[in-house]
């Protein structure tokens, strides 16, 4: 069902166009051949060959900005898809107990195969109503405070934590500032650095700055191949760098925000490959690949004594950064 969604819905990115065109032709020929009983298999196979060629060419060499667009693709699997396909028996945890139930972050108990886990993820919403309810994944302080409730409960009941990061950033608004969005994020980061359960964070789409790192500290950080993670959105960066309106393309390159870049900095531990053409072209395969990576990592983490786990987590965070230290 997930396969070729962009084709049937007609929503696709500019650079996907050649692929969509070939796919359309194949579908037409197949339909025609079935209707008229004429054998077009040669032509169809030829087209399938060029489809494969086009896919390889386009997706092997995506620019940073194209990856950002892939990460925001309207059919890209969201946290809710992972909750459906990766987790079963989900039991939600709602509300920050102070002010509000923030739809932009979803939390709850769930099972990953037979393993009990705590799930925390940004929620963007799958349709316009949900989008508004979830503020497109931009959380208020209450989202992070609810997440901290879930984290503490995970620690109490000894459940590993899985976070799914997919946000353009924390919500930029008056209420968010009034209720201490910066404090909520800082407290969450601080808490995650010392929680006595394994934590695996995965950037599944957008890793937008402070809003992302607010649930992005743990033992392992995974990134889907076309996800991005950045200190600032490319749009914000280009507005600062080139006051006369520079390009998002250039800003994306400058920020080094792709999974490969983030891995090179020692922040991302593993890049999870996406199906050719991107995660949106095959939700099931994407989820399966990520599931395998998460389970493999969980087994490793669960093997470690807790003190060792926490020491390794601290050492990882401590080692991030590049500078020189010579006394000249």
């Amino acid at each position: 069902m997930a396969n070729g969604q962009s084709n049937s819905n007609g929503v696709y990115l500019d650079f996907e166009r050649p692929i969509i065109d070939i796919e359309k032709k194949i579908a037409e020929l197949e339909e025609y051949s079935a209707r008229r009983g004429i054998d077009f298999s040669n032509e169809i196979n030829q087209l399938k060959g060029s489809l494969e060629g086009a896919m390889t060419e386009i997706f092997a060499n995506l620019t940073s900005w194209q990856r950002v667009q892939m990460a925001r693709h309207p059919h890209r699997p969201l946290t809710s898809h992972y909750l459906n396909l990766l987790i079963h028996d989900f039991l939600p945890i709602q509300g920050d107990r102070i002010f509000h139930e923030d739809g932009a972050i979803v939390c709850g108990f769930g099972k990953l195969e037979e393993r009990k886990v705590m799930v925390i993820g940004h929620r963007k919403g799958r349709n316009p109503q949900e989008n508004i309810k979830c503020q497109y994944g931009s959380a208020h302080p209450e989202g992070y405070r609810k997440a901290m409730r879930a984290m503490r409960m995970a620690e109490k009941f000894k459940l590993p934590i899985l976070t799914f990061i997919d946000t353009p950033g924390a919500y930029p608004g008056i209420g968010a500032e009034e209720r201490g969005i910066a404090l909520a994020i800082a407290e969450s980061i601080k808490l995650m650095s010392s929680l006595r359960v394994p934590i695996i964070c995965t950037v599944i789409g957008e890793g937008g700055s402070g809003g992302a790192i607010g649930i992005g500290v743990g033992d392992v950080l995974l990134m889907l191949q076309n996800a991005y993670y950045s200190v600032i959105l490319p749009e914000g960066c280009s507005a600062i760098l080139w006051k006369d309106g520079g390009s998002n393309q250039e800003a994306s390159e400058a920020l080094k925000l792709t999974a490969k870049d983030v891995e090179r900095f020692g922040i991302c531990d593993e890049i999870v490959p996406e199906p050719i053409g991107g995660a949106h072209r095959d939700h099931k395969q994407t989820v399966q690949t990520l599931k395998d990576a998460i389970v493999r990592r969980l087994v490793e983490l669960e093997d470690k004594p807790l003190d060792e786990l926490l020491e390794a987590r601290y050492e990882k965070l401590r080692s991030i950064g590049e500078f020189s230290e010579s006394s000249k």
Partner: protein, 278 residues
């Protein structure tokens, strides 16, 4: 702006030129005698506006005379992203280094505050807006660890309007986690951390080390927040209320314990140390 104001400003512009004896106050708009401002730790004698203070002046004002011992002085920023906008990061760094005489925005070390030993860190807003890249993050983490190991109270004064430094990309973002992780250990060791917020503190600095003090203190009328006001205005499409993201706003909304003017800062901290330092 009315005609009255316009006249006043043009009149003052002329007067500002000679000698550099006078300063125009950003708070009240008055011309104030520079020497008098300096005597008052760079606070306007007329309206109490707190001018920007360099890190070294701050250290002089806050710690006992001659007690400060700077640590980790050799840490120097590199250019891990080869970052380039309309100017290169390399050029921006060189300029900031030349203007301030500092290698990066942070200074850390130990000293005494009214005879009590403390670990001390500070970010200087004159150096790339006090933003946090790898060097600032590393220095703050190291001084926190030093404080934990030696069971010292920790004081960090931030002037970090630049938040997480864009030019070092994700490395800057994760300095938030690095500093918070060190502070968490300090916290769990039962030790005190006082965060002093000075004008300005924004973004990733406020959303990490600067907001998680046992005690958070701000100087009067400092601009402190997470998202830049312009971005918020563009999102919500209306004007922001007066006094938004100021120290006073933070106090009203429960994010800081107190607002303390610069001249009382040292004695207020001493009072806290009396209760909370071992």
């Amino acid at each position: 702006m009315g005609w009255e104001n316009f006249k006043r400003i043009t009149f003052r512009r002329k007067k500002e030129v000679p000698g550099g004896l006078w300063l125009k106050c950003k708070g009240c708009g008055n011309l104030v005698y520079k020497k008098k401002v300096e005597e008052k730790q760079h606070v306007c004698p007329e309206c109490q506006y707190h001018f920007t203070l360099s890190a070294s002046e701050r250290i002089k004002n806050m710690l006992d005379k001659g007690s400060f011992k700077e640590m980790h002085t050799h840490l120097t920023p590199t250019d891990p992203l080869q970052f380039k906008g309309s100017k290169t990061y390399k050029d921006r760094l060189e300029r900031a280094q030349k203007n301030t005489g500092m290698k990066d925005a942070g200074i850390v070390g130990t000293g005494n505050l009214e005879s009590r030993p403390v670990a001390f860190g500070i970010t200087d807003s004159r150096f790339l807006m006090g933003s946090m890249g790898s060097v600032v993050g590393e220095k703050l983490a190291r001084i926190t660890e030093h404080a934990t190991a030696n069971r010292l109270p920790l004081i960090i004064v931030s002037g970090s309007g630049g938040g997480a430094r864009m030019d070092e990309g994700m490395l800057s973002l994760y300095q938030m986690a690095k500093t918070c992780a060190a502070l968490e250990r300090h916290d769990q060791a039962g030790l005190l951390y006082i965060s002093i917020l000075t004008n300005p503190v924004m973004g990733g600095a406020f959303a990490s080390y600067a907001s998680v003090g046992d005690i958070n203190i701000a100087e009067p009328k400092a601009i402190i927040g997470f998202t830049g006001p312009r971005v918020i205005e563009q999102t919500i499409r209306r004007e922001l209320p007066a006094g938004f993201q100021t120290s006073e706003f933070l106090l009203e909304h429960g994010m800081i314990d107190m607002i303390v003017s610069r001249e009382n800062l040292k004695s207020e901290i001493a009072k806290i140390l009396e209760y909370c330092a071992n």
